[in-house]
Amino acid sequence: MAANTNSDVPKLTFEKAIEELESIVKRLEEGKVPLEESVAIYERGEALKRRCEELLRQAEARVEKITLDAGGKPTGTSPLDVA
């Protein structure tokens, strides 16, 4: 069941994921969550945390320059070295 309800997590944006994670933390801290739900939302919290970390890990610093044809249309990219 938990796996099903968390299937959307890998598609969430960082903003949505962290927002939901925060609301889960808040609910858990308030301590009013029924036992079964607390397990479910804890698992979801874990999934959201993994999603956030994954998004944060994807820190690629690729820098490319658009190459243009004679008409000024982009044809592709080439690495840009600004050093």
Binding site: G31, K49, L56, E60, A61, L68, G72, L80, V82
Partner: protein, 502 residues
């Protein structure tokens, strides 16, 4: 001839000679001049030369900027701009014209340019290009950032360094000239170009744009005041940050951008969050999740333990009941015996009293009551019979008296009836048709014996039977009856006649 003499003193020149002389004179005298005037009639020729007029309120001077010089001018020239130019005067002998060949051109003070910017800003504001409602929110964490700037220089370096410090992202740089001729067109084309990219295409479409340029003079930044650039920025569907010049430099693109950054570095800061801060935040959230979850479990466990302690053991719960059961079980056999004994005592006490003598006394008592009743019955019967016999004798006498009276009444009644019958018979005779026959009338019947009451019922040749008082005679109708018209009105004779028509 005298008239001609002074003329002869003058050297006769050809038109070309004069024009050449004039050209030399003008060029010598005005080889380097500085002129202030308002631009008018500006024409960019495809050859790259620019033709224009310099004017003030009274005079106009034709001017030309050759291609080489035009490339160095950072402003896009347009009519109405107040400028100061340097150059040399020359003539154009073919058309008897003179013009200034402009080498440098500057706006006549900042005021002139500022006025132009103000005017343009007013116009675009009126169009709604700068409306706050058009502003888009920047994405929290863009995946691809498009940067429109010069690919060389400090600006792109600053942006990339700051991005790398905060949150390295994929960056696409669209190289453009940021000043000079064609720069505005290139910048506008780059904004449109990024917007036109397909999200799924080989070059990913950025989800954030930065248009950047380092600091410079108002003229250096002029491209970012150009309408084409401002419109492109306003139309961008991708959120756009403008970062042109230093903090104090404001260009029109800043009003059209979704966010204005004071510097290129600041634009990078607005573009991405700080990764390490986010990591710390996520980590803290994760720790809090676990901690609060564990806490809530611990609390539940404690509660459970407390509840467990409070719960009495099953033994204790049943002990009392079991004790009662034990007691009852122990008492049961004794109680049964005691109960039986009690019953037996009661039984023997009663059983001892049951004897035949007891029964005999009962029978004797009842027999006595029976013979008493029988005696009473016999005397009652006798009394009843005497009373009935007396009643019957009395009734018999009354019946005999009634019988005599009835006989008498009947005889009287019969005599009376005989008289009335005779009288009625005579009356009947008088009223019978036979009485009528006696008086001489006859009754006509048909052969079937049915009486005929009207002549109309008789047909010619029909057999008739005529009854008289003394007997009957047969007859045959001779022809149709002659009818006596009825005494009551009954239509014309035609109606009557029609009765006999077959």
């Amino acid at each position: 001839m005298a008239m001609n003499e002074p003329r002869l003193n003058l050297i006769e020149l050809t038109v070309s000679e004069l024009s050449a002389s004039l050209k030399r004179t003008v060029e010598d005298a005005f080889g380097h001049v500085r002129v202030r005037g308002e631009l008018g009639n500006v024409k960019y020729h495809s050859s790259g030369h620019v033709y224009l007029d310099l004017k003030d309120d009274k005079a106009s001077l034709a001017g030309v900027i050759w291609r080489g010089s035009a490339g160095r001018i950072r402003l896009k020239l347009e009519a109405g701009l107040e400028v100061v130019v340097t150059g040399r005067l020359t003539t154009y002998p073919g058309q008897s014209k003179y013009q200034i060949v402009i080498e440098t051109l500057e706006p006549a003070g900042l005021g002139a340019l500022m006025a132009l910017v103000e005017e343009r800003k007013k116009k675009l504001t009126a169009e709604g290009l700068f409306d706050p409602s058009r502003k888009q929110l920047l994405p929290f964490l863009p995946t691809v950032i498009g940067v429109i700037t010069s690919p060389t220089g400090a600006v792109i370096r600053d942006i990339l360094h700051r991005l790398a410090d905060r949150f390295p992202r994929r960056v696409l740089v669209w190289p453009v000239r940021v000043q000079g001729e064609g720069s505005a067109e290139q910048i506008a084309a780059a904004i449109h170009g990024f917007n036109a990219l397909d999200v799924q295409g080989p070059i990913p479409r950025p989800d954030l744009l930065i248009v950047a340029r380092g600091g410079g003079s108002l003229e250096d930044l002029w491209s970012f005041n150009e309408e084409i650039v401002v419109r492109a920025a306003a139309d961008s569907m991708i959120p756009l940050i403008s970062a042109v010049g230093h903090e104090t430099d404001v260009t029109l693109i800043d009003f059209a951008a979704d966010v204005r950054a004071p510097t290129p570095t600041a634009a990078a800061e607005m573009a991405v969050p700080v990764r390490t801060e986010l990591l710390v935040r996520i980590d803290s959230l994760a720790r809090r999740t676990l901690a609060s979850w564990q806490r809530s479990h611990e609390a539940r466990r404690t509660e459970l333990r407390a509840a467990t302690r409070a719960l009495p053991s099953a033994d204790a719960l049943f002990a009392l009941a079991r004790q009662r059961l034990d007691h009852a079980t122990a008492r049961l056999p004794r109680a049964l015996i005691a109960n039986t004994q009690t019953d037996r005592v009661r039984f023997s006490r009663i059983a001892g009293r049951i004897e035949p003598r007891l029964l005999g006394a009962q029978v004797e008592r009842r027999r006595e009551r029976l013979s008493n009743v029988a005696r009473l019955l016999a005397s009652a019967l006798k009394t009843y019979r005497d009373a009935r016999l007396t009643g019957i004798a009395r009734h018999r006498e009354r019946v005999t008296a009634f019988g005599e009276r009835a006989l008498r009444a009947i005889c009287g009644l019969i005599d009376n009836r005989d008289l009335r019958t005779e009288r009625a018979g005579q009356l009947l005779m008088a009223f019978s048709y036979r009485g009528v026959l006696e008086r001489g009338f006859a009754l006509v019947r048909d052969r079937d014996g049915t009486p005929l009451r009207r002549a109309a019922a008789i047909q010619a040749g029909q057999g008739l039977e005529i009854e008289f008082a003394d007997g009957r005679a047969r007859a045959t109708a001779d022809g149709a009856p002659a009818l006596t018209p009825p005494p009551r009105r009954r239509g014309g004779s035609g109606g009557q006649g029609s009765l006999f028509d077959p």
